[in-house]
Protein backbone atom coordinates (compact mmCIF):
# COMPACT_ATOMS: atom_id res chain seq x y z
CA UNK A 1 0.00 0.00 0.00
CA UNK A 2 1.35 3.42 -0.88
CA UNK A 3 1.96 5.95 1.91
CA UNK A 4 -0.42 8.34 0.16
CA UNK A 5 -3.24 5.86 0.31
CA UNK A 6 -2.35 4.90 3.87
CA UNK A 7 -2.54 8.54 4.98
CA UNK A 8 -6.01 8.86 3.46
CA UNK A 9 -7.18 5.63 5.10
CA UNK A 10 -5.85 6.75 8.50
CA UNK A 11 -7.81 10.00 8.34
CA UNK A 12 -10.91 8.21 7.14
CA UNK A 13 -10.56 5.89 10.15
CA UNK A 14 -10.05 8.91 12.44
CA UNK A 15 -13.34 10.38 11.19
CA UNK A 16 -15.20 7.08 11.30
CA UNK A 17 -14.03 6.28 14.83
CA UNK A 18 -15.27 9.69 16.01
CA UNK A 19 -18.70 8.89 14.61
CA UNK A 20 -18.57 5.39 16.07
CA UNK A 21 -17.53 6.62 19.52
CA UNK A 22 -20.14 9.35 19.48
CA UNK A 23 -22.86 6.71 19.23
CA UNK A 24 -21.70 4.92 22.38
CA UNK A 25 -20.67 7.91 24.50
CA UNK A 26 -22.90 9.04 27.35
CA UNK A 27 -24.39 12.52 27.41
CA UNK A 28 -21.87 13.43 30.12
CA UNK A 29 -18.90 12.28 28.02
CA UNK A 30 -20.22 13.99 24.90
CA UNK A 31 -20.67 17.25 26.79
CA UNK A 32 -17.11 17.11 28.07
CA UNK A 33 -15.78 16.55 24.54
CA UNK A 34 -17.94 19.37 23.23
CA UNK A 35 -16.47 21.77 25.80
CA UNK A 36 -12.90 21.03 24.73
CA UNK A 37 -13.58 20.45 21.02
CA UNK A 38 -16.57 22.64 20.11
CA UNK A 39 -18.45 21.35 17.07
CA UNK A 40 -16.53 18.05 16.99
CA UNK A 41 -19.74 16.14 16.18
CA UNK A 42 -20.20 17.97 12.91
CA UNK A 43 -18.65 16.52 9.80
CA UNK A 44 -15.25 17.96 8.98
CA UNK A 45 -14.56 19.05 12.56
CA UNK A 46 -12.22 16.80 14.47
CA UNK A 47 -10.44 16.31 17.72
CA UNK A 48 -6.77 15.45 17.73
CA UNK A 49 -5.93 11.77 17.85
CA UNK A 50 -2.75 9.71 18.04
CA UNK A 51 -2.18 6.96 15.50
CA UNK A 52 0.17 3.99 15.67
CA UNK A 53 1.05 2.26 12.39
CA UNK A 54 3.04 -0.96 12.29
CA UNK A 55 4.53 -2.02 8.99
CA UNK A 56 6.60 -5.19 8.74
CA UNK A 57 8.14 -4.31 5.38
CA UNK A 58 8.96 -1.21 3.40
CA UNK A 59 9.23 -1.28 -0.37
CA UNK A 60 10.47 1.49 -2.60
CA UNK A 61 9.78 1.04 -6.29
CA UNK A 62 9.12 -2.66 -5.70
CA UNK A 63 12.37 -3.32 -3.82
CA UNK A 64 12.21 -4.26 -0.17
CA UNK A 65 14.45 -2.16 2.07
CA UNK A 66 16.75 -3.67 4.65
CA UNK A 67 16.28 -2.45 8.22
CA UNK A 68 19.79 -0.89 8.16
CA UNK A 69 19.04 1.36 5.20
CA UNK A 70 15.37 1.95 5.98
CA UNK A 71 15.62 4.85 8.41
CA UNK A 72 18.39 6.70 6.57
CA UNK A 73 16.43 6.62 3.36
CA UNK A 74 12.97 7.38 4.74
CA UNK A 75 14.11 10.43 6.65
CA UNK A 76 15.43 12.04 3.48
CA UNK A 77 13.50 13.82 0.76
CA UNK A 78 11.28 12.98 -1.01
CA UNK A 79 10.21 10.12 1.31
CA UNK A 80 10.23 12.16 4.52
CA UNK A 81 7.30 14.23 3.22
CA UNK A 82 5.31 11.03 2.72
CA UNK A 83 6.21 9.87 6.25
CA UNK A 84 5.04 13.23 7.62
CA UNK A 85 1.64 12.54 6.06
CA UNK A 86 1.31 9.59 8.46
CA UNK A 87 2.88 10.86 11.71
CA UNK A 88 2.95 14.64 11.33
CA UNK A 89 6.08 16.73 11.99
CA UNK A 90 8.78 14.30 13.12
CA UNK A 91 9.78 14.63 16.78
CA UNK A 92 12.22 11.74 17.13
CA UNK A 93 13.37 8.54 15.51
CA UNK A 94 15.24 5.48 16.70
CA UNK A 95 16.65 2.20 15.44
CA UNK A 96 16.94 -0.76 17.76
CA UNK A 97 17.11 -4.52 17.33
CA UNK A 98 15.80 -4.50 13.78
CA UNK A 99 12.97 -2.07 14.58
CA UNK A 100 12.75 1.46 13.20
CA UNK A 101 10.59 3.94 15.08
CA UNK A 102 9.55 7.32 13.72
CA UNK A 103 7.61 9.40 16.23
CA UNK A 104 5.64 12.39 15.04
CA UNK A 105 3.39 14.93 16.68
CA UNK A 106 0.25 12.92 15.90
CA UNK A 107 1.44 9.41 15.22
CA UNK A 108 4.06 6.70 15.50
CA UNK A 109 5.33 4.60 12.63
CA UNK A 110 7.00 1.31 13.51
CA UNK A 111 8.85 -0.52 10.79
CA UNK A 112 9.69 -4.16 11.49
CA UNK A 113 8.22 -7.09 13.38
CA UNK A 114 6.87 -6.08 16.78
CA UNK A 115 6.66 -9.03 19.15
CA UNK A 116 4.83 -7.35 21.99
CA UNK A 117 2.12 -4.80 21.36
CA UNK A 118 1.15 -4.28 25.03
CA UNK A 119 3.62 -1.50 25.77
CA UNK A 120 2.78 0.01 22.42
CA UNK A 121 -0.86 0.17 23.39
CA UNK A 122 0.07 1.82 26.70
CA UNK A 123 2.30 4.29 24.87
CA UNK A 124 -0.54 5.21 22.51
CA UNK A 125 -2.83 5.68 25.54
CA UNK A 126 -0.37 7.98 27.29
CA UNK A 127 0.24 10.00 24.10
CA UNK A 128 -3.53 10.38 23.60
CA UNK A 129 -3.84 11.56 27.20
CA UNK A 130 -1.00 14.01 26.57
CA UNK A 131 -2.85 15.44 23.54
CA UNK A 132 -6.13 15.70 25.47
CA UNK A 133 -4.45 17.40 28.45
CA UNK A 134 -2.76 19.85 26.07
CA UNK A 135 -6.17 20.79 24.64
CA UNK A 136 -7.68 20.94 28.13
CA UNK A 137 -4.92 23.33 29.15
CA UNK A 138 -5.70 25.52 26.13
CA UNK A 139 -9.36 25.60 27.21
CA UNK A 140 -8.36 26.56 30.76
CA UNK A 141 -6.20 29.44 29.50
CA UNK A 142 -9.16 30.63 27.44
CA UNK A 143 -11.36 30.56 30.56
CA UNK A 144 -8.65 32.44 32.47
CA UNK A 145 -8.60 35.11 29.73
CA UNK A 146 -12.40 35.35 29.78
CA UNK A 147 -12.33 35.79 33.57
CA UNK A 148 -9.86 38.66 33.16
CA UNK A 149 -12.32 40.45 30.85
CA UNK A 150 -15.20 39.67 33.21
CA UNK A 151 -13.25 41.11 36.16
CA UNK A 152 -12.80 44.45 34.34
CA UNK A 153 -16.57 44.69 33.70
CA UNK A 154 -17.48 43.54 37.22
CA UNK A 155 -15.27 46.17 38.88
CA UNK A 156 -17.13 48.92 37.01
CA UNK A 157 -20.25 47.88 38.96
CA UNK A 158 -22.89 48.48 36.27
CA UNK A 159 -25.91 46.52 37.52
CA UNK A 160 -27.18 45.55 34.04
CA UNK A 161 -23.75 44.20 33.06
CA UNK A 162 -23.38 42.47 36.42
CA UNK A 163 -26.47 40.39 35.76
CA UNK A 164 -25.06 39.28 32.39
CA UNK A 165 -21.69 38.51 33.95
CA UNK A 166 -23.31 36.43 36.68
CA UNK A 167 -25.09 34.30 34.05
CA UNK A 168 -21.80 33.93 32.13
CA UNK A 169 -19.89 32.95 35.26
CA UNK A 170 -22.49 30.39 36.26
CA UNK A 171 -22.25 28.81 32.76
CA UNK A 172 -18.45 28.68 33.00
CA UNK A 173 -18.72 27.22 36.49
CA UNK A 174 -21.08 24.50 35.26
CA UNK A 175 -18.68 23.49 32.42
CA UNK A 176 -15.82 23.80 34.81
CA UNK A 177 -17.35 21.49 37.43
CA UNK A 178 -17.88 18.87 34.70
CA UNK A 179 -14.27 19.14 33.53
CA UNK A 180 -12.93 19.00 37.06
CA UNK A 181 -14.73 15.71 37.57
CA UNK A 182 -12.68 14.02 34.83
CA UNK A 183 -9.41 14.61 36.64
CA UNK A 184 -10.25 11.69 38.94
CA UNK A 185 -10.71 9.39 35.92
CA UNK A 186 -7.47 10.63 34.36
CA UNK A 187 -5.53 10.03 37.60
CA UNK A 188 -7.04 6.52 37.78
CA UNK A 189 -6.03 5.84 34.15
CA UNK A 190 -2.50 7.05 34.85
CA UNK A 191 -2.21 4.77 37.87
CA UNK A 192 -3.41 1.83 35.77
CA UNK A 193 -1.02 2.63 32.93
CA UNK A 194 1.78 2.91 35.49
CA UNK A 195 1.05 -0.45 37.11
CA UNK A 196 0.58 -2.17 33.72
CA UNK A 197 3.81 -0.73 32.35
CA UNK A 198 5.74 -2.09 35.34
CA UNK A 199 4.63 -5.61 34.53
CA UNK A 200 5.95 -5.31 30.97
CA UNK A 201 9.62 -5.54 30.17
CA UNK A 202 10.03 -4.95 26.50
CA UNK A 203 13.50 -4.00 25.42
CA UNK A 204 12.39 -3.58 21.83
CA UNK A 205 10.32 -0.53 22.65
CA UNK A 206 12.55 1.10 25.25
CA UNK A 207 13.49 3.66 22.66
CA UNK A 208 9.95 5.07 22.90
CA UNK A 209 11.05 6.72 26.12
CA UNK A 210 7.81 5.69 27.75
CA UNK A 211 8.73 6.76 31.28
CA UNK A 212 9.69 10.30 30.20
CA UNK A 213 6.35 10.81 28.45
CA UNK A 214 4.53 9.25 31.41
CA UNK A 215 6.14 11.60 33.93
CA UNK A 216 5.56 14.61 31.68
CA UNK A 217 1.85 13.72 31.52
CA UNK A 218 1.72 13.25 35.29
CA UNK A 219 3.32 16.67 35.83
CA UNK A 220 0.89 18.26 33.38
CA UNK A 221 -1.96 16.68 35.34
CA UNK A 222 -0.65 18.31 38.50
CA UNK A 223 -0.38 21.71 36.75
CA UNK A 224 -3.95 21.38 35.49
CA UNK A 225 -5.13 20.46 39.00
CA UNK A 226 -3.51 23.66 40.37
CA UNK A 227 -5.01 25.69 37.54
CA UNK A 228 -8.46 24.26 38.27
CA UNK A 229 -8.15 25.45 41.89
CA UNK A 230 -6.94 28.94 40.90
CA UNK A 231 -9.73 29.39 38.36
CA UNK A 232 -12.31 28.14 40.81
CA UNK A 233 -11.10 30.65 43.41
CA UNK A 234 -11.17 33.40 40.77
CA UNK A 235 -14.77 32.55 39.81
CA UNK A 236 -15.80 32.46 43.50
CA UNK A 237 -14.11 35.82 44.04
CA UNK A 238 -15.86 37.38 41.05
CA UNK A 239 -19.24 36.02 42.16
CA UNK A 240 -18.61 37.52 45.61
CA UNK A 241 -17.78 40.93 44.08
CA UNK A 242 -20.96 40.73 41.96
CA UNK A 243 -23.03 39.82 45.03
CA UNK A 244 -21.47 42.71 47.01
CA UNK A 245 -22.38 45.14 44.20
CA UNK A 246 -25.94 43.80 44.10
CA UNK A 247 -26.23 44.02 47.92
CA UNK A 248 -25.01 47.63 47.79
CA UNK A 249 -27.63 48.43 45.15
CA UNK A 250 -30.34 46.83 47.31
CA UNK A 251 -29.07 48.79 50.30
CA UNK A 252 -29.37 52.06 48.35
CA UNK A 253 -32.92 51.10 47.37
CA UNK A 254 -33.80 50.38 51.02
CA UNK A 255 -32.40 53.77 52.11
CA UNK A 256 -34.44 55.54 49.43
CA UNK A 257 -37.63 53.76 50.50
CA UNK A 258 -36.92 54.68 54.13
CA UNK A 259 -36.52 58.40 53.41
CA UNK A 260 -39.49 58.47 51.08
CA UNK A 261 -41.68 56.99 53.82
CA UNK A 262 -40.51 59.72 56.26
CA UNK A 263 -41.14 62.49 53.70
CA UNK A 264 -44.59 61.22 52.79
CA UNK A 265 -45.41 60.74 56.50
CA UNK A 266 -44.44 64.32 57.38
CA UNK A 267 -46.34 65.55 54.31
CA UNK A 268 -49.44 63.73 55.60
CA UNK A 269 -49.03 65.24 59.07
CA UNK A 270 -48.59 68.71 57.49
CA UNK A 271 -51.80 68.30 55.51
CA UNK A 272 -53.61 67.32 58.73
CA UNK A 273 -52.21 70.44 60.44
CA UNK A 274 -53.39 72.59 57.50
CA UNK A 275 -56.87 71.07 57.77
CA UNK A 276 -57.34 71.60 61.53
CA UNK A 277 -55.34 74.85 62.06
CA UNK A 278 -58.29 77.25 61.14
CA UNK A 279 -60.29 75.74 64.03
CA UNK A 280 -57.78 76.90 66.63
CA UNK A 281 -55.92 79.88 65.06
CA UNK A 282 -56.41 83.13 63.30
CA UNK A 283 -55.94 83.44 59.49
CA UNK A 284 -52.29 84.68 59.70
CA UNK A 285 -51.14 81.97 62.13
CA UNK A 286 -53.06 79.41 60.09
CA UNK A 287 -51.29 80.53 56.87
CA UNK A 288 -47.90 80.32 58.63
CA UNK A 289 -48.64 76.78 59.91
CA UNK A 290 -49.88 75.73 56.45
CA UNK A 291 -46.73 77.13 54.82
CA UNK A 292 -44.48 75.39 57.36
CA UNK A 293 -46.45 72.15 56.91
CA UNK A 294 -45.97 72.35 53.14
CA UNK A 295 -42.34 73.45 53.23
CA UNK A 296 -41.19 71.13 56.03
CA UNK A 297 -41.36 67.83 54.04
CA UNK A 298 -39.65 69.54 51.09
CA UNK A 299 -36.84 70.92 53.30
CA UNK A 300 -36.60 67.55 55.07
CA UNK A 301 -36.41 65.79 51.71
CA UNK A 302 -33.68 68.12 50.44
CA UNK A 303 -31.76 67.85 53.70
CA UNK A 304 -32.01 64.08 53.82
CA UNK A 305 -31.09 63.77 50.18
CA UNK A 306 -27.93 65.83 50.52
CA UNK A 307 -26.97 65.18 54.11
CA UNK A 308 -28.97 62.50 55.88
CA UNK A 309 -28.70 59.88 53.09
CA UNK A 310 -24.93 60.09 53.09
CA UNK A 311 -24.77 59.86 56.87
CA UNK A 312 -26.77 56.66 56.69
Amino acid sequence: MSLDKLARIIFDIIEDTSRLMSSILSLYQRRILNIIYPGYKEEGFERRKYTVVISEKVKIEGKELSSEKMLDLLLKEPYVNEIKQIVGPIISYAKKDGLCLIDGSYGLLILGKVKNTELLSLYASIKSLEIFLEDLLVYLWMVWEKLGDTRKIVLKGDIKELKKMRVQLVTILSDFTLLKSIMGTITYSLDRIDSESKSISDDELDSLDFSTVFHAVKNRCRTIGDLFESIEREIDGLLMVINTHIEEALDRLNTLTFWLSIIFGSFGLGQLAVAIAPWFMGPIESTIVSSIATLLPIILGVFLHFGGGKAR
Binding site: D4, K5, A7, R8, I9, F11, D12, I13, I14, E15, Y37, P38, G39, Y40, G44, F45, E46, R47, R48, K49, E77, P78, V80, N81, E82, K84, Q85, G88, Y106, T117, E118, S121, V138, W141, M142, E145
Partner: protein, 172 residues
Protein backbone atom coordinates in the same frame (compact mmCIF):
# COMPACT_ATOMS: atom_id res chain seq x y z
CA UNK B 1 20.72 28.71 -5.26
CA UNK B 2 18.39 26.83 -7.57
CA UNK B 3 14.82 26.11 -6.59
CA UNK B 4 12.57 23.44 -8.07
CA UNK B 5 9.91 24.59 -10.51
CA UNK B 6 7.16 24.03 -7.91
CA UNK B 7 9.11 26.02 -5.29
CA UNK B 8 9.42 28.92 -7.73
CA UNK B 9 5.70 28.78 -8.43
CA UNK B 10 5.00 28.73 -4.69
CA UNK B 11 7.29 31.72 -4.14
CA UNK B 12 5.56 33.61 -6.94
CA UNK B 13 2.14 32.70 -5.49
CA UNK B 14 3.18 34.05 -2.07
CA UNK B 15 4.50 37.20 -3.74
CA UNK B 16 1.13 37.81 -5.45
CA UNK B 17 -0.60 38.01 -2.09
CA UNK B 18 2.07 39.62 0.07
CA UNK B 19 3.65 42.42 -1.97
CA UNK B 20 3.60 45.58 0.12
CA UNK B 21 1.22 48.27 -1.06
CA UNK B 22 2.53 51.77 -0.27
CA UNK B 23 3.32 51.53 3.44
CA UNK B 24 0.96 48.62 4.08
CA UNK B 25 2.70 45.33 4.81
CA UNK B 26 0.74 42.32 3.63
CA UNK B 27 1.08 38.82 5.04
CA UNK B 28 -0.77 35.66 4.14
CA UNK B 29 -2.04 33.34 6.89
CA UNK B 30 -1.09 29.70 6.64
CA UNK B 31 -4.63 28.41 6.12
CA UNK B 32 -5.23 30.86 3.28
CA UNK B 33 -1.97 29.69 1.70
CA UNK B 34 -2.94 26.02 2.20
CA UNK B 35 -6.21 26.75 0.38
CA UNK B 36 -4.35 28.39 -2.52
CA UNK B 37 -1.88 25.50 -2.74
CA UNK B 38 -4.72 22.95 -2.70
CA UNK B 39 -6.49 24.85 -5.46
CA UNK B 40 -3.20 25.00 -7.35
CA UNK B 41 -2.81 21.23 -7.09
CA UNK B 42 -6.39 20.63 -8.27
CA UNK B 43 -5.90 23.05 -11.19
CA UNK B 44 -2.55 21.37 -12.02
CA UNK B 45 -0.47 24.49 -11.38
CA UNK B 46 1.91 22.46 -9.22
CA UNK B 47 3.40 19.42 -10.90
CA UNK B 48 4.85 17.34 -8.05
CA UNK B 49 2.73 18.33 -5.08
CA UNK B 50 0.00 16.11 -3.70
CA UNK B 51 -2.14 16.48 -0.62
CA UNK B 52 -3.23 14.43 2.33
CA UNK B 53 -5.84 14.94 5.04
CA UNK B 54 -4.37 16.40 8.22
CA UNK B 55 -5.95 17.71 11.42
CA UNK B 56 -5.09 21.39 11.56
CA UNK B 57 -6.12 24.56 13.34
CA UNK B 58 -8.50 26.14 10.88
CA UNK B 59 -10.10 29.48 11.63
CA UNK B 60 -10.20 28.82 15.37
CA UNK B 61 -11.27 25.16 15.33
CA UNK B 62 -9.66 21.82 14.63
CA UNK B 63 -10.60 20.64 11.16
CA UNK B 64 -9.43 18.01 8.74
CA UNK B 65 -7.91 19.71 5.72
CA UNK B 66 -6.13 18.48 2.61
CA UNK B 67 -2.60 19.76 3.13
CA UNK B 68 0.42 19.29 0.87
CA UNK B 69 3.46 18.10 2.81
CA UNK B 70 5.67 18.74 -0.23
CA UNK B 71 4.55 22.36 -0.22
CA UNK B 72 5.17 22.55 3.54
CA UNK B 73 8.73 21.29 2.95
CA UNK B 74 9.20 23.88 0.20
CA UNK B 75 7.90 26.67 2.45
CA UNK B 76 10.51 25.59 5.00
CA UNK B 77 13.18 25.71 2.28
CA UNK B 78 12.08 29.18 1.08
CA UNK B 79 12.21 30.39 4.66
CA UNK B 80 15.70 28.90 5.18
CA UNK B 81 16.95 30.59 2.01
CA UNK B 82 15.57 33.91 3.24
CA UNK B 83 13.15 34.25 0.34
CA UNK B 84 10.12 34.49 2.60
CA UNK B 85 9.58 35.59 6.19
CA UNK B 86 7.50 33.70 8.68
CA UNK B 87 5.45 35.24 11.46
CA UNK B 88 4.02 33.20 14.30
CA UNK B 89 0.75 34.54 15.66
CA UNK B 90 -1.22 33.58 18.76
CA UNK B 91 -4.97 33.43 18.22
CA UNK B 92 -7.53 34.53 20.78
CA UNK B 93 -8.13 30.82 21.37
CA UNK B 94 -4.55 30.14 22.48
CA UNK B 95 -3.58 28.30 19.33
CA UNK B 96 -0.81 29.33 17.01
CA UNK B 97 -1.02 30.12 13.35
CA UNK B 98 1.67 31.36 11.04
CA UNK B 99 1.77 33.98 8.32
CA UNK B 100 4.19 34.39 5.42
CA UNK B 101 5.53 37.29 3.39
CA UNK B 102 7.97 37.51 0.53
CA UNK B 103 11.31 39.21 1.30
CA UNK B 104 13.30 41.62 -0.88
CA UNK B 105 15.63 38.73 -1.69
CA UNK B 106 12.60 36.72 -2.78
CA UNK B 107 11.41 39.58 -5.02
CA UNK B 108 14.86 39.76 -6.62
CA UNK B 109 14.88 36.00 -7.16
CA UNK B 110 11.51 36.20 -8.93
CA UNK B 111 12.91 38.71 -11.45
CA UNK B 112 15.08 35.93 -12.87
CA UNK B 113 12.59 33.06 -13.10
CA UNK B 114 11.25 31.88 -16.43
CA UNK B 115 8.14 33.73 -17.64
CA UNK B 116 6.31 30.43 -18.24
CA UNK B 117 6.59 29.59 -14.52
CA UNK B 118 4.81 32.85 -13.70
CA UNK B 119 2.35 32.31 -16.54
CA UNK B 120 1.25 28.94 -15.12
CA UNK B 121 0.51 30.52 -11.72
CA UNK B 122 -1.14 33.56 -13.35
CA UNK B 123 -3.46 31.24 -15.32
CA UNK B 124 -5.31 30.43 -12.07
CA UNK B 125 -4.31 33.06 -9.53
CA UNK B 126 -3.84 36.19 -11.61
CA UNK B 127 -5.75 35.74 -14.89
CA UNK B 128 -5.03 38.47 -17.47
CA UNK B 129 -7.46 41.40 -17.22
CA UNK B 130 -9.08 39.85 -14.10
CA UNK B 131 -6.41 40.12 -11.43
CA UNK B 132 -5.65 38.35 -8.17
CA UNK B 133 -8.72 36.84 -6.52
CA UNK B 134 -9.53 37.68 -2.91
CA UNK B 135 -9.71 34.77 -0.53
CA UNK B 136 -12.45 34.76 2.08
CA UNK B 137 -13.85 32.25 4.53
CA UNK B 138 -17.60 31.53 4.54
CA UNK B 139 -19.77 30.81 7.60
CA UNK B 140 -18.88 27.10 7.45
CA UNK B 141 -15.16 27.84 7.29
CA UNK B 142 -14.79 27.01 3.58
CA UNK B 143 -12.34 29.18 1.67
CA UNK B 144 -13.76 30.95 -1.37
CA UNK B 145 -11.80 32.62 -4.15
CA UNK B 146 -13.56 35.76 -5.35
CA UNK B 147 -12.40 37.08 -8.71
CA UNK B 148 -12.88 40.71 -9.69
CA UNK B 149 -15.16 39.66 -12.57
CA UNK B 150 -17.59 38.23 -10.01
CA UNK B 151 -16.59 34.58 -10.40
CA UNK B 152 -16.51 32.66 -7.12
CA UNK B 153 -14.77 29.34 -6.53
CA UNK B 154 -15.31 27.20 -3.44
CA UNK B 155 -11.97 25.58 -2.54
CA UNK B 156 -12.80 22.10 -1.26
CA UNK B 157 -9.80 21.80 1.00
CA UNK B 158 -12.02 20.75 3.93
CA UNK B 159 -13.50 17.80 2.08
CA UNK B 160 -11.19 14.80 2.51
CA UNK B 161 -11.97 11.86 0.27
CA UNK B 162 -13.52 8.73 1.75
CA UNK B 163 -11.49 5.56 1.36
CA UNK B 164 -12.75 1.99 1.34
CA UNK B 165 -11.09 -0.22 3.95
CA UNK B 166 -11.86 -3.31 5.96
CA UNK B 167 -11.09 -3.64 9.65
CA UNK B 168 -10.80 -6.41 12.21
CA UNK B 169 -10.85 -6.04 16.00
CA UNK B 170 -7.64 -6.57 17.88
CA UNK B 171 -7.82 -7.02 21.65
CA UNK B 172 -4.66 -5.89 23.41
Amino acid sequence: MKLSRDSEKLLYLISLYTRSEREMEKWIKNYALWALIYHGIVEKVFEDYDYTPVTVMWYGTLRIANISMEAEADIFKLRREGLINKLRLATSKYRYITAYKITEKGEKYLQNIKPEVKAEVDRVFNPPSVGIPDITIDAKGNPILIYKNGKKILVKILYPEDMAYSSAPSFL
